[in-house]
């Protein structure tokens, strides 16, 4: 139904797609796979008329087509869920779903009732119940993702592109989506599905196309490949066992950070935990369960209802991340682009951003030589792949960007590193390297809090796991109790002790 032939795309002088082919049939779910920066999203933007290919052909039902705008693509029956949210925070769900395609009444004014009815019907099919009258900024991330999906569904497209729709969904929510996808497939819709979760690929997809560095690697039926073969196609080499072995924990290890009593401003359970030197403490829970908020409250970046924290045994009141830094607590925020990197800066400037204490001369001035040397060391330590320390970070792949954020914390006398979703949107190869880095850090005596929405990662890495629900820790599991059943049970059911 949809066919791409020899698509090339250059941004400025850099070519990011070098002649990609893709064939998607009616009534199939077609997976598009590849490492970060392989060009998946770029290809899909070309299909939907957002950007224009430098070369190559788009064919629909065998007819060559040209989409100068997104509208033209919609008219041809293409719908897309973008990787980056394309929602407007201040508008409500209905307004967002129909943005750019509002229904109008006889006077040319908005027909709110018609739009609302239609929106309700679509959301009902997705089995989600969300408030339609509030600005979507007040919805949870997962709810926003569903608005995004509903928006694409409302187009009643014949060709539906889903660019990493599950990155912010929990397994059960993902199931809702898969159910709808199966229905659409049955009714003859062609679906392109992009995800870094290989298990999802095997669950829902029929065929697979793999890209590597903008090159077309190949297409195959799902039934014909194994996970290992797939990974090899994507990264061009074999990846052995991605989780490094867990060392046995020293039971008497020093407690470096202790949350005595933390409660979020929005209420919910009162959390407490202890973090020991050399351990990885996992924070598991559903999206929106308050893991990020808890961590930010401890750092003083969020107002909390109550927050008593001991660092190295002494009670501290942290007012902001700078205080955290002073007490040896570093944060890798969950959104690299919005919270982690200064994208217009070089690697060097990003890494040294909070390190000047180490690079200063005469208390005031930057020691440029030392800055360069230290940055180079840090880059080598986390194995950043780049042209050099002066390369701009926005020219790096997602995994390498994440490593730059990690490198920023290497030149401090850190005790605690908080990794918030460290592998979100990162390909398998880079993931394995980041896991190894985390183990290296704990071996050096760092303590790590790892917030993650991916259960395998929690299970594979964490020495102990705090499970969050409704804004706080409801259970802590250890050792052999760390299983997906245990964690999911705590995360979704059971009593929550509410404190007003």
């Amino acid at each position: 139904m949809l066919e791409l032939r020899g698509i090339r795309k250059s941004f400025g002088r850099i070519e990011v797609l070098h002649g990609v082919d893709l064939q998607v049939r009616a009534g199939e779910v077609h997976a598009l796979l590849g490492e970060n920066g392989a060009g998946k999203s770029t290809l899909m933007k070309i299909v939907s008329g957002i950007i224009q290919p430098s070369e190559g052909q788009i064919l629909i039902d065998g007819q060559p087509r040209h989409f100068p705008t997104y509208d033209a693509a919609i008219a041809a029956g293409i719908g897309i869920v973008f990787q980056e949210f394309s929602l407007i925070p201040g508008l409500n769900a209905v307004e967002n779903m129909f943005l750019g395609r509002e229904k109008r009444n006889a006077f040319g004014l908005l027909d709110r009732k018609a739009m609302r009815t239609r929106a309700q019907a679509i959301l009902k099919k997705l089995e989600v119940d969300l408030p339609l009258d509030v600005p979507i900024a007040r919805l949870s991330v997962a709810e926003q993702q569903f608005v995004e999906i509903a928006k694409a569904l409302s187009l009643e497209a014949r060709i539906l592109v889903l660019d990493e729709p599950t990155a912010t969904l929990t397994p059960s929510e993902t199931e809702h989506l898969f159910k709808v996808m199966r229905e659409l497939r049955a009714s003859g819709v062609a679906i392109v599905f992009i995800s870094h979760h290989l298990d999802e690929i095997f669950e829902i997809c029929d065929r697979i196309t793999v890209l590597r560095d903008g090159q077309y690697v190949g297409s195959t039926d799902v039934a014909d490949v194994t996970v290992d073969q797939l990974v090899e196609m994507m990264v061009g080499r074999r990846i052995e066992n991605s989780f490094p072995p867990k060392p046995t924990l020293e039971p008497a290890a020093r407690i470096v950070l202790e949350a005595v009593e933390v409660q979020l401003r929005r209420g919910g359970p009162v959390s407490s935990f202890q973090l020991r030197a050399g351990e990885i403490l996992g924070f598991a829970g559903l999206v929106g369960s308050g893991r990020t908020e808890t961590v930010l409250s401890i750092l003083g970046e969020y107002a909390a209802a109550r927050c008593t924290v001991r660092v190295d045994g002494a009670e501290r009141r942290l007012r902001d991340a700078a205080d955290g830094l002073a007490h040896g607590i570093g944060l890798l925020p969950e959104s690299r682009k919005d919270q982690g990197l200064i994208t217009a800066f070089s690697i060097l400037q990003n890494v040294s951003l909070n390190n000047y204490g180490k690079y200063q001369r005469g208390h005031w001035f930057i020691d440029f030589k030392k800055e360069l040397a230290c940055t180079q060391t840090a880059m080598d330590q986390v194995r950043v792949k780049a042209q050099g320390p002066r390369a701009r970070v926005d020219t790096l792949s997602g995994g390498n960007q994440q490593k730059v954020v990690i490198a920023r914390w290497l030149n401090h006398d850190m005790r605690v590193l908080i990794f918030d979703e460290p592998t979100r949107g990162i390909d398998v190869g880079a993931k394995a390297e980041i896991y190894q880095l985390m183990r290296d850090f704990t071996a050096q005596g760092y303590a790590i809090i790892m917030i993650s929405s991916e259960l395998p990662e929690i299970i594979g890495m964490a020495d102990r796991v705090c499970v969050f629900r409704s804004g706080g820790i409801v259970a802590t599991v250890e050792g052999s109790a760390i299983t997906s059943e245990q964690i999911m049970t705590h995360a979704t059911t059971g009593k929550v002790h509410h404190v007003a």
Binding site: F82, S86, L87, I88, P89, G90, G100, G108, L110
Partner: protein
Amino acid sequence: MSHDATVASTARHRALDWLLHSPLALPLVGLIVVSVLMTFASDNFFTVDNVLNVLRQVSVVGILAVGMTFVILTGGIDLSVGAVMALAGTAAAGVMVNMGLHGGLGIAAALLVGVGLGLFNGALVAWGKMPAIIVTLATMGIARGLGLIYSGGYPISGLPGWVSWFGVGRIGIIPVPVIIMIIVYALAWVLLQGTSFGRHVYAIGGNETAARLSGVRTRQVKLAVYAISGLTASLAAIVLTGRLMSGQPNAGVGFELDAIAAVVLGGTAIAGGRGLILGTLIGAVLLGILNNGLNLMGINPYLQDVIKGLIILLAIYIGREWR
């Protein structure tokens, strides 16, 4: 508790909830507080006559602030409104007096100048991708210069008598400028809340990239928004010309700042995406009451600037979280 009481309290609770969440809540509270203070401070304040007087004084900046609201809602800014208004008024007077043409042509000239310069701003911002603050700053200089060149620096007087109707006329007891202002606000309200164009204006201010990815023609909307600002500048020019009975190339210096203050006092976020046109009306009236009340109280004119600045700061400070 009886059932009725529960219902009543829920209704009251809901009204309170609405009030606390509406972007109009704070501007309204500010308006009420300032009005009450002024009523106590001056006997002449709370009379029908003076209220109409304030509204009439507010009308010019109030109309300018409508276009400014559209522009700010998209995340832009228009520093040229005062100068464009002066040029439009000068052009209208020039057509009527110097060229001796029909009054309708004069009004047409004002609209042409306003919308033309608005389109100029909009094209440079939307297609030229230049920062609005710089574009409209340059347009401000250009419009002032053109007005002075055209008029030779002299105000153009000798307008036909009917022009004054726009500035000082009344329908019933309501001054014409006030009626024009209210019509402009009503139209703006329909445009912003009832049409897809209005949704797109908010969407661009909320997240321009996302709006574009959703198929909103962001450039066209931005162009339209600056054109609307030019249009309201020419409507303000017509009212002002009626009030001054002359084309004044030097009029409206600093009015852009008053218009911005009205928009922001009215609860619209300066970064765009959030705000209501009704808030702008409240903001404009609030500013007008401050000017009028401080005059009525006989406050030293120098001190008036200081008090106005402090009250604006206070209002924005209190409002900053709620919004």
